[in-house]
Assembly symmetry: D2
Homo-oligomer: 363 residues x 4
C-alpha cells in the first residue's frame, strides 16, 4: 500500500546529533513535504527553525501523530526509545523510518515488523551504508560471481571514542558491520560469538572481536573498538577468484579489487597429484558515483511510501541485525561462548512470537 504517488507529508522525530542531517535531506527530497519537527527540547527546535524558518515544530510526539494529513515519521532518537516511538507511529497508521538499530531486542523488532506487516505500512531502518556506492559496488562484485566463492569477510571499525554511556561498542558500531555483511552475503548468521574487554566503563565493552558463522559456510570477523590509536574503517572480502578491500576512510579509493587467488595445478612431478599456485594480477580501483548515501536512503523511503514498494532495509533486515547484535552481546557478557541464532520461520512470523536466541551450550 502506498500513497499512489502523491507527495507525502513527513514528520521528523528527534533533532539531536543526527536530526539536522535528516532534516536537510528531507527538505531537499522530491515528493516529500516536511510537516513538522518534534523534539522535547525547545532549544533544539529553535535551531531547526533558525535553519528553516517556515518549519512547524512540536514538543509532544502525540501532537505530531495526531496530524491527520501526516503520512510518515522519521525517528532519530536514542536507541532505547526506538521501539516505543515506532510502535506508536505504526499504531497511528503512519509509515515509519527508524534510525539503526531498529530496536534493542529481537522481540521488539519482531513486534514492530508484525505491526507494519499487518497494516501494510512501510517500515524502514536507517542502515545508511546500504545506500552508499562502495557497499553496492562490492555487492555487485559478489553477486556477479566476479569474486568466485566467498571464503570470508573481515571488518575493522576502530577509532578513539566516542564511548556511549548506556550500550557497549557492539550496539554502537556493529550494526554497520552486520548490516553490510548480511547484505553482501544475502544471509544471516547461524552462530555468533564475541569476546573483548570493558576497560573504561564497568560492564560496557569498549573493544569487541566478533565471529559470525553463516549457513553457507562463509565466516565473518568483526573488530569494533572505541579504544584505538587511529581510525580504521576497512572491510576485506576474500573470494576464490578475486579479493576486495573496501576502505571507507580512503575517499579517493574506497574499493580496490585484487585479481589474486590460489589455484590447484597438476603437479608436473607426480601424476595424479596437485599442487597449489598463487595467482597475482592487476589491482583495480573502480570509479564510483559521488552520491550522498543519506540522500539516496531518504529518497528511497519516500519512494517506498508513495509506491508501496518494499524497502531494501526493511523490517526483516533490521530484525536480522538486531538478533545478531543480541547474540553477540549475550556472548561477550557471558565470556565468549557461541550463540546459535535460530532461523526464523517467516511463515510464522505474523502468527506468533518465537524465542529468538538460545545458548549454544544448552543445545
Amino acid at each position: 500500500m502506498g500513497t499512489n504517488g502523491r507527495m507525502i507529508n513527513v514528520g521528523l522525530v528527534g533533532y539531536g546529533y543526527w536530526g539536522p542531517n535528516l532534516l536537510r535531506n528531507l527538505v531537499a527530497s522530491p515528493g516529500c513535504n516536511v510537516m513538522a519537527v518534534c523534539d522535547s527540547s525547545r532549544e533544539r527546535l529553535a535551531l531547526a527553525k533558525e535553519r528553516f524558518p517556515t518549519l512547524s515544530t512540536v514538543t509532544e510526539y502525540e501532537e505530531l501523530l495526531s496530524l491527520d494529513s501526516l503520512d510518515a515519521v522519521v525517528i532519530a532518537t536514542p536507541i532505547f526509545t526506538h521501539y516505543s516511538l515506532a510502535k506508536k507511529a505504526l499504531a497511528a497508521g503512519k509509515h515509519t523510518f527508524v534510525e539503526k538499530p531498529i530496536a534493542t531486542s529481537g522481540r521488539e523488532a519482531l513486534d514492530l515488523l508484525d505491526s507494519a506487516e499487518r497494516q501494510r505500512l512501510t517500515l524502514m531502518v536507517g542502515h545508511t551504508f546500504l545506500y552508499s556506492p562502495p557497499v553496492n559496488k562490492v555487492k555487485e562484485l559478489i553477486d556477479s560471481g566476479e569474486l568466485g566463492d566467498i571464503c570470508y569477510v573481515a571488518s575493522s571499525r576502530v577509532n578513539l571514542g566516542i564511548h556511549q554511556p548506556d550500550v557497549s561498542v557492539i550496539w554502537d558500531l556493529a550494526p554497520h558491520d552486520f548490516s553490510i555483511i548480511f547484505f553482501w552475503l544475502g544471509e544471516e548468521p547461524s552462530k555468533v560469538s564475541a569476546s573483548g574487554r570493558a576497560f573504561v566503563q564497568k560492564g560496557l565493552h569498549d573493544v569487541a572481536f566478533i565471529d559470525l558463522d553463516f549457513p553457507s559456510g562463509v565466516v565473518a570477523h568483526v573488530q569494533d573498538s572505541w579504544l584505538s590509536p587511529s581510525k580504521r574503517r576497512q572491510m576485506t572480502v576474500v573470494g576464490s577468484r578475486k579479493m576486495v578491500i573496501y576502505d571507507d576512510t580512503n575517499l579517493e579509493e574506497q574499493v580496490r579489487i585484487f585479481d589474486k587467488g590460489v589455484a590447484y595445478i597438476d603437479d608436473p612431478d607426480c601424476f595424479g597429484k596437485h599442487q597449489l599456485t598463487y595467482r597475482t594480477g592487476d589491482i583495480t580501483t573502480p570509479r564510483l558515483e559521488p552520491l550522498e548515501p543519506l540522500a539516496v536512503e531518504l529518497a528511497h523511503f519516500v519512494d517506498c511510501v508513495r509506491t508501496g514498494a518494499r524497502p531494501k532495509t526493511d523490517g526483516f533486515h533490521g530484525l536480522g541485525v538486531v538478533r545478531a547484535l543480541e547474540a553477540a552481546q549475550q556472548s561477550i557478557s557471558n565470556g565468549g561462548g557461541k550463540k546459535v541464532v535460530q532461523p526464523l520461520n517467516l511463515d510464522n512470523v505474523l502468527a506468533d512470537t518465537i524465542a529468538l536466541t538460545e545458548d549454544l551450550s544448552h543445545v
Copy 2:
C-alpha cells in the same frame, strides 16, 4: 654450565629454506666455529659448500652428534622433526637451538625442557622477533609504564600464501604473534579460543581469528591468514596512557607511539559525577637501531652456551607458545570453544609430566 667462555663448536642441522640464513650468521658470529652442516640431501649440502668451500658436511645426524668436540647444534628442519632431533642432541649432551615452534605439542616441549634442565644444557628456541629492535622498543614502553595499564593487544599477520601442506595457519604464523605478545605482557594466556575457515585445503585452516585471555585481565586478538589481498604485519597495543602501532612492513616507521587516551574528568554540571574526555597529543616514531635480529639471536645463543646464562627465548618460553598453539588448534578444530590453559606448577615440571590443556566445557 657453559664452556667458560671458550669458542664453541656448532653443527647446523637442516640446510633448506632457512638454513642458509642461519649458516651465514653463524659463520659471522664471534666465538662460534661451524664444525659441520648436516642435511639428508647431498644437493643441499653441495650448495652450502659452494658458498663456504672449507665447510664440513655430513648426511647422517648421528655422525654429527658423535663428533666429540661438538658443543652445540642449531636445528632448522621441518616442525614435526624438531622434537626427536632436539631430544637426541640433548641426550648426546649438546646445547641445543631449535627453530620455532620448539615442538608439536606441550608434552613434547615439556620433555625437552625437562631433559635440558636435568643436564644443565642450554635449550633455546628461534623466536627471532624477540631479538628485533621494534619488538624490544615496545617491551620497553610497556615495562617503563609509559603506556599505562594495558587494555589489549591486537595483531594482524596476513598475506597471500604460503600454504603449508601439513599444518594450519595457526602453527605457521601464530608462533610469531604468541611469542611477541607473551614477551610483551610477561604472562601466558589462561584461555584461548579460535575460529576461522579451512578453505583451500580440507581440514587445514588457512584463516584464523584467535582470542587470548590473560590472568591480568588483558586480552589479545590475533588474525592470521594465508588468504588476504595485501600483506599486513601490524600489532596494536592500547594502554590507558598511550597507544602503540608496530608495523613490521613499514621499514621507515616500524613503531609509532600515539599520546592518546581517555580520561575521567569532574563533570562541571554535576558535583560528584564524572565524564569522559579524550586526550590527543603528539605522535612519535622513535629511531631504532638497524640491527639484524637473526644475528643478534645467534650471538645470544653462542653467548648463553659460553657463559651458562639462560636464553631470553628459553625452553619455558617455547613451551608457553606451544601450549597456546595447541589450545588454539583444538579450539578451531572443535568449532571455536574456549580452552583453559592450565597454569604449570614449575616446581613440579622436573618431577613429572602433567596434562597441559583441558576443554573449558568440561570444567
Copy 3:
C-alpha cells in the same frame, strides 16, 4: 586608527563560490555585525537570504558604500575586480578585506597600499593559510631555530582541475605557496623564474615549475598544476638540524618533524680532515589545535579594525605576493628567464610609485 573597540558594521561583497563561507563566519564572529550582502545577481542574494532571513541585500556596490554606519567591506569577487572595488572602498573611508591575490599587478597593489596607509585604514588580504595551525607550527619551528639554518623549501600543489578561464595556474595556486613561504622565511624573493606548459587552453599555463631565490641564500621551488592524477598539497622545509613535511591532505598528521641531518665529523683516519655523517633520530607529529583558519582570519580582521592593529596579512604582504606572481608570470610567458624583483624602498612607497619588476636580461 580603529573603532576604539566598538562592534563594527561589515558589508560582504560577492556571494559566489567563496562568499557563503565568509558570510557564515562573519555572522558567527564576535564584535561584528553584517549590515548587508552585495552581489549583482538577485539569485545569489536570494540564496543568502534563505540562509539568513534577516539579512539586508543590495545589488549596487555604491549603495553599500553609501551606508553611513558601514565600517568595513569584505571583498570576495573575481580577481580582476579586486583592485577597483577595494580602491572605491578605501576612497569611501572603509576598512577593507580583499580575497587573495590583492590585485592583478604590483602597481595596483601598491596603489591600494598607498591609499590605505594615507588614510590609516585597515587593508587586509585573505591569505587564509597564514591563519592555519600547521602553517603557524612550521613558522614556530623555523623561528625558534629548531630546524637550524634553512636550506630550501619545496612545495607541490597539484590535482586535476579546476582550470580558470582567464588566468594561468600561477595566479590561481601560487598565491598560497608564495604567501606561506614568504611568511615562513620572513623575506621576499630577489629572483623568480618559471617554466611549464599551456596544454589545455592556449596561452594559459596549466602546469608551472617555479624557482625562487631569496636574499638570505635560501631557495624555494614550487610545482603547481591543474593536470595531475592525484591531489597533493605538500611542502618540505629542509634545515641544517631538522626537516619538516607539511602535508595539507593528511588531516591526521599535517606536520611531521624529522630529526635528521648531515654533519661533519673529524675523520678518524686523517687528522685535520672531516667527513660527512648522516644523523637520523625520531619523527614527531605534533598535536595541532583543530581551529578553522577562516574563522581565525575574519576574527583577526574584525580585531584589527576595532583596535587599529596591523594585520598579519596586510597590504605589504599582499603586495609581496603579487610582485612575485607577476615576475613568475612574465618569466613563464617569456620561456623561463630569471626576473629580478627589485627591493622596495618602503620609505618611498608613499611618496611615489616605482617600477616593480624588470627583466633580468636587461640588467
Copy 4:
C-alpha cells in the same frame, strides 16, 4: 659484428660498491664466462675470491686487456675513470659495458661512440632502469597511445644522502631520470636549465630542480636531492587521455594508471562555445613480472655481443644523457640560465667532433 653466438669471455673491472652485484649476475648469466676480475685493491679481490673461489683476479687493467680470449669488459669504477678505461678497452678490440654515466662530458662520450662504431664493437651503458618492468610498462602505455598526447613528465628522486665528494647531485641522480625520460619520450631535450643549492659542500649542489624542453613540445621537470627527510622515487606522466604514476618505492604497486583527463564539450548554454569537463574513471595497477633489472641488462649485453645486435642503452643513448647532464650542470653553476642542447647530426658523428652545448644567451 658479434661472436656468432659462442659463449663469451668477460672481465669485470672494479669490485667496489656495485661490482659484487655485477659479478653475481654475470656468473649466473647464460652464455657468459667470467674470465677475471680486476681491481687495484687486493683486499677487494680477496672478497671476490671468497665468494667465487675459482675466479681469476688481476690488479693491472693492462693485464686483463692482454688476455687474448677476452671478448668483453664490464666497467664499474668511479665516474671520472669511465672514459679512459673504456677507451683502452675499445682500443684493445673488446666489447665494452660501462656503468652510467658513460663519461664526464659529451666530448668524451662522443669519442667512445666513435671508437666503438668504427670498430663495430658493442658499446653499452648501464642505465639499468631501462631494463626494469615498470619503466617498460610505462613505455608501452605511451607508445600504444593509451595515454594520448603527452603533456609533461615530472620526477622526484630525493632522500637523505649520500653526498658524493666530487660531483653534484645532478651527475649522481639525474642520469636515472634523464635516461628514463628520454627513453619514454623517444627524444632528447633541446633546452635544459637547472637551479638549486650547494648547502653542505661548497660548490657541489646537493639539491637541484631541472627543467627540460623537448622538440615535440613536451616538458619535463626533475627534482633531485641528497637533502630530504624521506625517500621518494616517483615519476608522473600526464597525457591527454590518461595519467600514470610510477613509484619505485612502492614495491606492490609500482605503476598506477589513472583514467583521468580533461575534455572539451559543447557548452549547452551557448552555441559554438565549449567548456571544459573533467573525466575520472578507474585506477589500475597492472601486474608486472618480478624480474631483476640487472640480470636482464647483463643478459642483454651478452646477447648483443654474441649476435652483434645494437643495445637498447647504446652509446648514443649514453651520449644523450651525458650531454643533458653537462647542460644542466652548466646552467646550475651559472645561476639557472637555459642551455640549448644542439641537435647532433648523426651523419657527421663519425666524421668529426662538434661543439656539443652552447649557452642560450650567446645564441
